[in-house]
Structures are given as C-alpha cells and as structure tokens.
Amino acid sequence: MSFINDPIGFLAEWITNFLSGFLPEAWVIFIVTLLGVIITASFGLIIVIFLIWLERKIAARFQDRLGPNRAGPYGLLQTFADMIKLITKEDVVPEKADKLTFNIAPILSVVAVLLIWAVVPFAPGWIGTDLNVGVLYIAAVGSFGILSILMAGWSSNNKYALLGAFRAVAQLISYEVPMLITLMVPVLLARDMGMMTIVESQNLWYIALAPISAIIFMVSSIAEVGRTPFDLIEAESEIVAGYHTEYTGMKFGMFFAAEFLHAFTIGVIFAILFLGGWRGPGAEEFRLLGVVYLMLKGLLGYFIVMWVRSTLPRIRIDHMLAFNWKFLTPLSLMLLVMTAILDKIFGDTALRLPLLLAGNVLVLFLGWLALRWASRRQTKTRRVFKKRPVAKPA
C-alpha cells in the first residue's frame, strides 16, 4: 500500500517495522495500539472545538442573525476564548456535596461519549477496533452517560439538581427502547453487528430500505442527547439548569463539550448505519476520501439535529414520554417485524427495495390512521357543558 492510498496503514506498518528493530513484539503492539487510541480520541476532542463554533453560527443564521464574528476571522477562535474563560473561572464545589462522585461525574460523561469513537469506521480498514458486537457496544456505553447524570444530580446535594437528574434519566431510558429496536434494523439487513460489516454491505444505503426506522432512530437519538425539542433536561426556565446546576468552570465545560460531541456522534452513527458510512466513489482506492465522505454525511446528520433544534418548541415531559411509549415503541416494533418477515422472504431478490419501501409506507400509513383514531376518540369524550342561564336584557 502506498502512502497516497492508505496513509494510516502505511504509517502503522512503518512504525511497526521501525520499533520491531529494538523492542519485543508485545511492546510494539502496545505502542502502536496506544498511538491509534490517542489519534482517535484526539480526533473526537478536536472536532468538538470546530463543532461548537459551527453550532453557534448555524443557530444564529436560523435566527436571522450573524453569530460570533469578533474573535478571529468569522469568529473561528470563539471556542478557544470560551475555553479560556471556563478554565479561569473559579471551581466552586458546594460544601455538602459528595466530593468523589461530584468530581467523577463530568469525567464519566466525556468518557462515555469518547468511547463511541473507538468503533467508528472511518475508511476501509481504518477503524479503532472492529468489535464483532459494535452496535450493541454503542448502546452499552450510552448507559455510562446515564449513570453520570444520576451521579451529578445526586452528589450536588441540591433539590433541583436531583429532580432534574431524575427527569433526565427517565427521558433517556425511555428513548433508549426505540433506539435499540431501530438499531436492530441495520443489523438485520446486514446480518452482522460489526460496524465495518454494516458499512461494507450497504451497496444500497439502508435509508432506502428502512426510511421510517431511520427517522425513528434520528428522533430517539436526539432525545438521547437531550436536544430540543427534548431538552427538558437543561431547560433554564423549568429546572434552573437541571443536573448540572452546581457545576462551575471546567467541570461544566466538560458536560457542555460532552453534549456537543454526543450530538455530532449520533450524526456520524446515523451516517454509518443508514447513509452508507464511508462509501462513495473512490473510497476504496483513496482511504482519505472515505473519511471525507463520512464526515460530510455526519455533518449532514448534525445539520438535521440543529435544524430540528431551531424549528421546534420544547415538549412537555408527559407528552414526551407518552410519545415514546405509546407511539414510537409500537411503531418501531411493527417496523422490525415487517422488515424481518419481508427481508427473509424477498431478501435476495430484486424485489427487496420496492417491497421494503412499500412496507415502510404501509406501516407509516397505519400509524397515521392510529393517531387519527386516537385524536378523534379524545375529541368525542370532551365534556359538553350544560346550558347555563344567561342574563338577558329585559
């Protein structure tokens, strides 16, 4: 492999050969793995800096204003300015807070999001580690994030933080159910849980084979991150600042960075599972192109998240949970059953695409009918007020 086609593979081989000259093999593997880890983790963190600027600019444009444009050209250095500000703020730990848990919670929050990047396939052959259970691994590290919220809320020794943490965890675990079920649809279509295999088997992007599942996955991922319309977790007018009320300075900065990185990460995961990942013209030849394609598709997913954020108002918690348990979960289960049966019968034939599309449309239609019936039932049981005597002029 030449340097142009596969830079990382070339470098890895060169470093391995170089180090094998004077180190035992176990150490060589360890050092190469360590370098891979540092590159992957740094990639995630450096992207956050760019993302925060991008988010502020795009949110501003949606609101018909300019966004940051003072610090550096086009406001590009704004994130650095924010970071410096957060680092130099005093780190106030409340007296009665539980010190160890209080300090671990923001670190756990960032770790939970960074761990997802270990299984993201950037290009053919460039993946942190091709676990054979990659998809389930992503769901599992999400649960560390949930735990960090509980730890943050409880250790603050603050009623509002605790209440906010409970509501946040209720929302997150509720929306994990449709997320897991719709995560199963690409696994079903690719017959494997490994992320690289899912991308490699997408000759036809899975969003064409399972569009409604993709939409449900996007919706439940937005709820998992805690973005509007599901941002009750940090709604300032409702619960002060929710579970991170008592956090100041860089610890709050860690929660902040974790949320932005999480939003971009779900854009990238959506791109991998449904939009074909690194697939595109020339990606197998020139690996860097694969990374470019993946980042473009990930940014598209991130743009959709920001678009939804700028458009929709915040949803009340009982509406949000009812929407999840009474609409999204049954709908995603029906889609899974339909996809499973149709894919088994017609999976190898040319009828796969039109039949699966038709099945999705059918399930969507049935879902719309069910919603219409439910709203009509509600209207019918509205109380009819008795006519009360009204004063009439004599």
């Binding site: 176990a26 848990t101 676990l131 054979n132 259970v133 389930l136 691994y137 769901a139 599992a140 590290v141 999400g142 649960s143 560390f144 949930i146 735990l147 509980l150 730890m151 409880w154 605790l162 409970f166 965890v169 675990i173 994990e176 849980m193």
Partner: protein, 176 residues
C-alpha cells in the same frame, strides 16, 4: 505472567474490593455505585473469556438498567440519606463464622470436581459465536422452547412488577 493473567488478577481484586465496600457502606447510594464497579469488573471477566457479546450485554442490562433501577429505588425511598445505620449488629460473629464455613465447604466441593484441572476445548477462531448463539436460540433442536418461555417469563415479570408498583389511583369517593 501474561497480559491476560495480569488483567484477570487486577479485575478480580477490583470485583472483590468493590463487593466488600458495597456491603459495608452506610451510605446506600455509595453502595449502589460500588455495585456498578463490581458489575463492570464482571464484564471485563467476560471479555477475558472471549465472550464479547455477553460483556456488552452485561454493561447494557446490568449497569444500564438494573443498577439504575436500584439507584432509583434507593434515592426515592431513602428520603434523608444522612440517616446512618450501623453496618453490623449483635449477630455479626455468628454470621461471619457461618459465611467462612460455607466458603470453605464450597472450595472443597468444587476442588473435588473432576474436570477442574482440564482445559475447555479450544474454540475455533473463525467461529462467529454470536451467529451460533442466534441460530441456537431459535432452532427446534436447541433452545427455542426456553427462548419462548423467556418471553413469557418477561411478560409475567412485567405484569407482576406493575401490579405491585402501580400507582394507586386515589379515589375520593371510596371514603363512603
């Protein structure tokens, strides 16, 4: 000492330590968090046994659902967490003796198991264990009956737990 052995020793100490801390903490939320550490250690043991699927299932189900359920229960029912309770009572000595006897008996019993020194047959490195698991779960001459019974069991657990925990509708007219 290979890397695997070192990781195994470290993880075992971690599990034992957090298990011990969990049962001796007075603050119940701390105990629940030590439980999370112990469960994570078990997941690492699964990885060492080349059962990656079970490791992520352990994290996803135990830490992501069961530990959170327990923490909810502790935080919601405890009220004032600063109510410290004595971790030991008058019967501590007898309990310790009984536990030591039980542990010793278990070690002797398992040591007499004939297969304890033999190694398990090596797994074919090309075998896709998750695929085999999936095929075994629904094939009629393997585990399809337990698979379906598991779903009925989950249904029964759901219904039972809801019956016990369901919010009682406060009916003001029932006072008559």
């Amino acid at each position: 000492m290979t890397v695997e052995q070192a990781v195994f020793l470290f993880t075992s100490f971690l599990i034992l330590f957090s298990g011990f801390m969990m049962v001796t903490r007075q603050n119940l939320v701390h105990a629940a968090l030590y439980l999370v550490v112990a469960l994570f250690g078990v997941a690492v043991i699964f990885v060492l046994l080349e059962a990656g699927f079970l490791a992520v299932v352990q994290v996803l189900v135990y830490i992501g659902a069961i530990a959170i359920l327990m923490i909810f229960a502790v935080m919601l029912t405890r009220g004032d967490v600063s109510q410290e309770q004595e971790p030991v009572n008058a019967n501590f000595g007898w309990a310790l003796l009984l536990a030591a006897l039980f542990c010793f008996g278990l070690i002797v019993l398992i040591g007499q198991w004939p297969a304890i020194d033999s190694q398990a047959p090596a797994l074919d490195p090309e075998a896709d264990t998750v695929l085999d698991l999936g095929a075994a779960l629904v094939s009629p001459d393997a585990y399809v009956i337990p698979f379906e019974v598991a779903s009925v069991l989950l249904l029964a657990a759901l219904i039972g737990a809801l019956v016990v925990a369901r919010p009682q509708k406060k009916n003001p007219r029932s006072a008559k």
